[in-house]
């Protein structure tokens, strides 16, 4: 078997890698919203437990989340499929990280915006939705793109619970090829992660530059 087969083997895992990445990113984006609201709550009875929850989620390696969901959760005869466990696990972790990114974005909205909103008589709700969120979203979009790249790479951890994504495919090709060609799938997989990250990284840089220009 040659280099071509090694590359095709890795490529076979790409759709699953993309599915894991985008599905968990979307879950994280949505769940991040109630979390950031909790992190910014006026009542410390909400704020502090939410802070601990976010730090707790981030304090546990992704592989542990995946193993808990894949091997630990069973209700009657119900078990998660490997891909389901991976998407939920990566989604939970993303929610905590994205909530932190959202929080940073809200903090970065200039104070004058809140004051101006109060001066024109907007209530707290309208201020948040119509003044703060649109600006915060622009501020956080470069960081969200960077997080997406990180998540894309972290989706490789799903291979440890036998999800047939890129690294899993690389690993099985390598296991069947003890010769020098067996080293290739790892190199191809590594290269693919880098190459596919480039457009998102470029987008992130462009958004960041536009933001800097807008603020200057």
């Amino acid at each position: 078997m040659g280099a071509g087969q090694a590359f095709l083997a890795v490529l076979q895992g790409l759709p699953m890698t993309l599915l894991l990445t985008f599905a968990s990113f979307i879950i994280g984006m949505i769940l991040g919203v109630p979390i950031v609201l909790g992190l910014r709550a006026r009542s410390s009875a909400v704020r502090l437990p939410m802070r601990v929850l976010v730090d707790f989620i981030r304090g546990i390696p992704i592989i542990v989340w995946l193993f808990v969901l894949k091997f630990g959760v069973s209700v009657g005869t119900f078990h998660f499929q490997p891909a389901q466990a991976a998407i939920i696990g990566l989604g939970i972790v993303s929610a905590a990280y994205l909530a932190e990114i959202y929080r940073g974005g809200i903090l970065a909205v200039p104070k004058g915006q809140f004051e101006a909103a109060a001066a024109v008589g907007l209530n707290r709700h309208t201020t948040f939705l119509s003044v703060v969120v649109p600006q915060a979203f622009r501020i956080v979009s470069p960081s969200m793109a960077t997080y997406l790249i990180g998540l894309f790479k972290d989706s490789s951890i799903a291979s440890t619970i036998i999800v047939a994504e890129m690294v899993f495919q690389a690993q099985s090709f390598a296991a069947q090829n003890p010769t020098l060609v067996g080293i290739l799938p790892y190199l191809f997989a590594g290269a693919l992660y880098i190459v596919l990250s480039i457009p998102v990284a470029a987008l992130s840089r462009r958004m960041d530059r536009k933001l800097q220009e807008a603020r200057a």
């Binding site: 304090g59 546990i60 592989i63 630990g72």
Partner: protein
Amino acid sequence: MNWFQLWAESFPTMLGGLKWTVLIAAASIIIGYPLGLLLALGVTRENRLVHWISLVIVEAGRGTPALVLLYLVYFGLPKAGLSFASIPAAIIALSFNAAAYSSEMLRAGMQSVHRGQREAAAALGLTSATTFTHVIFPQGIRSTIPALMGLAIQMFQGTSLAYAIAVPELMQQAYTVGSQNFQYLNTFILAGLMYAVISMPATWITVFFERRMNKKYA
């Protein structure tokens, strides 16, 4: 047996795993950060060749998932005649990872030193080596410390991936215990708590440093 009795029973084995987790994380940091500094110096060099080689190493180390690096070293390199036992393989792969990530942080830190400092050093006739060791590095490293602490926490958590190359670290021990008592949920939650008990306070300390640093430079 109840939940806590199970924990009490599996805890000693898991603690043995945590020892390797900490050792591998520490080794990767101790090897990786100085290499990261070298790479940062390489990237900022005017010499085209040195610049590009360093840049490619940094981008490869940052752009490739840590798991791929671990597999490459442990399963890939032996096919080219270069074999490592699992623990050295984990340290090699994770050090490379730490070097690549820390180099970007260190580069940003060194570049944040005001250029007047460099000019003043040149005016005093300091050699470029002395300028770096006595002027740029001591000032640049300070603003980098919170980021390096954050990366250390990431490295600590990242050692869990060494499970996949049969390193007897915390995750591996949890899996072994779980496959013996079939209490996977109980065991993996204990593993998660053991990671969290170290990561969470470490994060809080990092945030504390970050805030203090921001205040000083504000």
